[in-house]
Symmetry: none
Subunit: 221 residues, 4 copies
DNA sequence: AATGAATGAGACTTCATTCAT
DNA sequence: CATGAATGAAGTCTCATTCAT
């Protein structure tokens, strides 16, 4: 019934005895993401995680002290991975404001970030009150930073064209909602909706808000 | 030791010894929604539900056979409640296409539908793979119907103005994503984001897509 | 290795399904005492207790909420049993003060109270800081009551003879220490020291303090 | 996450990399006593002991082979410490029998022996059947020796006065019980009962048994 | 001589489900 | 219809012990 054979992953060296703590932590976090994608957050147990990691039961508590903390560290890893990606995309100072805004959009729907496996973790946290508290605490600063940068870019774009009637705040709140809405679509209907679909639709959205700066993506032409 | 006082709800008559099955079912579904809002879907047990309902342990299994089924029936109730609402809003045949589209939007953010208590149930289902399957199966037809109606309205509006470059499909996919994105916002930040905020932002979105049919909502002016 | 067969005790009726809570509680407390006597307090697990009681694992938590509480209720049972016994022995108002004091002594070393099985519970609680706190809280009132009664009797006896140099307080503190010291002796060397030995030695102790009221117990004469 | 700071004790030299085995053993035994006083015998783990000692996890097993053995060695240390003390007190051959008996009493309630920290160890062993076996085995000879010496002194005192009715055996059994009873008092109510209180009460006890040799301790006079 | 990562058995507790009453 | 005692599997976490380094 239940699979008892270990799904030991990675080379024999990575799963060997007495590995450096950072290696084990990364290995366990990766296994946690897999487990959440497969069994859900509440279906994820110390047992599913360590079995996927190819390690023994006790080791997870040894490195993370508690399950709650392990889940929290997993979310933190994803949040930092996302943050690092869009910050890196913005580093090129030769980009225009419009290009920078698109870079942030692209980071959201980058295959490394936006795949059903990792989205399952985010929505696992959204789904439970206790985890939502964890989430709020964890992304507070990161989200505030992205909001400031994004709204700043919108304001800069607004100044560069005839956009008197466009409210940058309103555009950004819509844009941020689109991120989440498309994420959910990709999570629930992975075969019908992709990150690239999301990118195209966001392009169309931006083209309607700032026609001089973004061109709509024309389907099959 | 200390007996937890029952949170018996409703009048003594509704909670009496022998109530008609439909009453008990409704009572239990309401308690289930409360429990999910308070403890999350995985934190919801037969015990939390029956305690909130002010009934005995065994009764839920008696009426719903299993926990899985009880949760499923709860989701079905919400899906039908939502469906009934927007269908009712569309019933007035004197409405224009644009007004009808706005009516659907309003139904999404109606206080009866869009409150943290009920949103918690939806996102509880989104958060777990096993429940996502239930969700997909349950809303398949209902969502398809709403999609057809909505896209039809978009196409009608498109015909009524100079909207050659507007793709109704694209607009609707964005609009549906906005629903979910705003729902998530309301769930996570109930004190910072309301259904009315969502309505305004959707108005702005529609005004950019169909400027001749929708006017942007101007903040306090 | 480990005995797996249930040591179901009592008649089939007492262990049957759906017994009144008081019956189950008493049954579990009795099994707890047995388990502590056999495996010690820290060696007592929900598993040893329920196995001895012939019940399933979950039932102990159902009736006592937690292991800690079950242990606490077990101690309370013993404390009340002891209290009830010496109070009953004192009820006969025709007894002299000396006879009443002896009655309290007898209650301490009564076979129902002072047997290795129950002493193991008391000293199990004495042995661990966390349990000592529980003990202190639990016996506070009961011990104070016994102290008041005992010292009162000592004072009365003192008035009835030439005992100017006898300090009732000092005698009672010694007597109470003797109780505990003999209890420990009986617990550790059950084959070498009995409750009757203790009674005799206490008689000798009292005879030295109040020679006019107590006669020493003369060994084999 | 947060690294618990080690409670490394002693000077840096005693805790250095490579210390002589006897030093390490003494260091670990001291830490074991502390741990038992703080967490109880069953709450004492290899981890609590090594953390208190400021050493690494594996070291205790290295020096003591097993936890059981480490606890046993700790008890042996205390038993020998006690034995050495009363033997030393008796060494002065100019003392009378009565003075020698008092010296043994004093040794029992000497601050070095009779403090809540070390009493916690003794009663930790008394509290569990498995540990009681260890205790019996360990103190067998030591207790027999003290018993012989003590009864011998009682007999000598008896010969020196008009104590025909006094049974030395009975007195000593009471006296030994008083030791344990007062120990328990000091352990459970350290703020209400001290070793000096015990000494006074024992003096009163001896004064009643051998009035010509011991004078009662008169409270503040 | 010393470290600390790793193991795995076992503890307490929770909970969906069953069933006598 | 309804109650609530009872079951037993499963989850999280602890810990003595082992062992590569």
């Amino acid at each position: 019934m239940a699979k008892k054979t270990r799904e030991r992953r990675g080379s024999a060296t990575t799963a060997g005895r007495t590995a450096p703590p950072e290696v084990r932590r990364a290995q366990l976090i990766d296994a946690t993401i897999d487990s959440i994608a497969q069994y859900g957050l509440s279906g994820t147990t110390m047992s599913t995680v360590t079995r996927i990691a190819g390690l023994s039961q006790g080791i997870a508590n040894f490195h993370f002290q508690s399950k709650k903390n392990m889940l929290c560290e997993t979310l933190r890893f994803l949040a930092e991975e996302h943050h690092d990606l869009w910050k890196a995309q913005l580093a090129d100072s030769s980009l225009s404001s419009a290009e920078k805004l698109l870079a942030i959009v692209d980071a959201h729907f980058h295959a490394k970030i936006c795949n059903p496996r990792k989205l399952a973790v985010w929505f696992g946290f959204f789904g439970e009150p206790a985890h939502r508290d964890t989430y709020r605490e964890l992304v507070k600063d990161i989200d505030a930073e992205r909001w400031e940068v994004s709204v700043g870019l919108c304001r800069a774009i607004r100044e560069q064209g005839k956009y008197e009637s466009v409210d940058p705040d309103s555009v950004m709140r819509n844009l941020e909602a689109l991120y989440d809405g498309f994420f959910l679509n990709i999570l629930i209907y992975p075969d019908m909706f992709s990150g690239d679909d999301a990118k195209r639709l966001v392009r169309n959205f931006l083209a309607r808000a700032f026609p001089e700066h973004f061109s709509p993506f024309l389907e099959r032409s």
